[in-house]
Symmetry: C2
Subunit: 334 residues, 2 copies
């Protein structure tokens, strides 16, 4: 039920009954490498195009989640999926061999939270018994599309982030077991006027601030009620801006804040500059390690605020700014 201003309480407390993650070579070598259900040393995954490799990552995450939850494909009433590619082809390519009703989304790197929010609302309203949320990104398909051909070897700026080669899938059901999904906040589009495609953290920080602030206000909670407020992929630049924006309200989130883009790689050893990004970044961190910690009770109450830069090379080349969006999902152990 709508509380107000984009925040929706899930009165029946749907559960994430299964989840899985898949990640590429560089992600497997990072600090979360051992958390993923599947890793590969060959980022082509045996496919002839990067688009197909990314579709395969989604399929692996989805099929692994199915088998971990002892589901078959016909148990899934609806799939919410999206990705960064033009016309979301890795999602449609990943799902086209299934017979599952499919809702295509575009929320840039916020898609894991967007899909999880919609899956939760469908299950809460009994429009679905089991709903899957799936998303992915792939370094090679994304960099070629958004910036430069990968083998061009261009110099990356200090604010640039590394698009994760990864996917995640969460299946939401009406069962009664943790992780529970308590509420969601739908993001608003925020435009900070950033025009640099190599500084997405800055483009997304205000959106994250807006969504997290609204979620706290609308649910009458405080930062101290959470043991983790996890943003999607603000990276170092965006995370610093987010903390600064909260500081202006007299709120210090640093004790509970973390960012998937800062967790996925070891920035001392891996050359990712400001951190990770891509739909697969927050998807793999959530489905690879966070949901397990909630299930085990290590995390009691957390807010997952994935962040997306609604960037397009077309309008970027026209000199337009990059608006940001952030959707949030509150998950708890009880």
């Amino acid at each position: 039920m709508l509380i107000k201003d984009g925040t929706i309480a899930l009165d029946s407390l749907p559960s994430v009954t299964a989840y899985a993650s898949a990640a590429g070579k560089m992600e497997s070598e990072g600090p979360l490498g051992k958390c993923f259900d599947f890793t590969t040393q060959d980022n082509t995954l045996g496919e002839v195009s990067w688009e197909k490799s990314e579709s395969k990552l989604q399929q692996i995450a989805f099929n692994t989640a199915l088998s971990k939850g002892r589901f078959s494909q016909k148990d899934i009433d609806v799939m919410f999926a999206g990705d960064l590619l033009n016309q979301c082809v890795s999602s449609s390519g990943g799902a086209k061999d299934t017979e599952i009703p499919f809702v295509g989304l575009f929320g840039a790197c916020s898609t894991m939270a967007e899909s999880l929010a919609l899956a939760s609302i469908f299950v809460d309203s009994k429009a679905a018994n089991n709903a899957a949320a799936v998303t992915s990104s792939h370094f090679c398909s994304a960099e070629r599309q958004f910036r430069f051909p990968v083998n061009y070897g261009g110099q990356r700026t200090p604010t640039a982030q590394w698009t994760a080669t990864a996917a995640g899938c969460a299946i939401v059901s009406s069962h009664c077991k943790p992780p529970y999904i308590r509420s969601v906040t739908i993001g608003k589009i925020n435009d900070m006027g950033v025009t640099d495609a190599n500084n997405m953290g800055a483009a997304m920080a205000a959106a994250a601030y807006d969504t997290i602030s609204r979620h706290l206000a609308n649910t009458a909670q405080q930062v101290s009620d959470f043991d983790l407020i996890l943003t999607g992929d603000l990276g170092q630049v965006g995370s610093d801006m987010l903390k600064e924006l909260f500081k202006r309200d007299g709120v210090d989130i640093s004790a509970v804040h973390n960012d998937c883009g800062l967790m996925l790689y070891d920035r001392e050893k891996q050359d990712v500059h400001a951190g990770g990004s891509g739909c697969g970044c927050s998807a793999s961190v959530l489905c690879g390690c966070i949901l397990k910690q909630i299930e085990q009770g290590t995390l009691k109450n957390m807010l997952f605020a994935a962040t997306g830069a609604l960037m397009s090379p077309t309008i970027n080349q026209q000199g337009e700014s990059i608006p940001g969006i952030s959707h949030a999902v509150q998950l708890s152990a009880q």
Copy 2:
């Protein structure tokens, strides 16, 4: 509540309480020209890029729907929007000056039905009191992106369709007045192996057949229960294929079938080849003339099955096929 296999009954019967359409020059000269709330003779709409012109069409459709329904922006709890452009920039550009919670979708030309279905489910489940569904397409932004630069003046094939310069917006609320939204069926991805970007009707026909068939079976209705089964933009080629697919089941839908792509233009006088297409095609036909006929009781019970070709130049150039999808929304006067 889920009936089965992607079909969801909207038990509270949400209503379309306001709707509006906006269309370009060529659409204003077609048979439905007088139905649209707004038409322009200048398809730039005074903007410096086609992407911005398309955003403006969405804004006009949305703002006109608001004013027709005597809504203000703050009455709208959530907006569902999408379009054909890479990273759905005309939707994010259209909404970025609002403060409305925003759910970005990608369903290609099926987006009007996808957004209307999600808006209905949100209102039915009380996740929103008023939810907007908005979509658009623009000939000049789409043709440049998907096929050739417009001023290249390439020869078009007989199966090619004309991307509509148009937008539509429907606002769904819990009020009790027609048009009522009775049920929706979420589409599945169907791949017929079509690789020709100039034959989208063929790519989408099987998806429309699958969704309409499932909707009829899952709701225990027959073709004769409807006074209109309206597909999105199959055009002449796809409409003929759809009728043929039903004929194989011994079902004749020709008495009640029509297609937005065949309604929007006068194919005798306007050089659109197989018909119209684009998210704005079905959006403007639905919001320009169909919803009014349901409101007035001229149409009693209709199925709106918008169709999308999940086409991407990237994978098209790689030789991959174009999968189709179709989402359906059943609207009635009572």
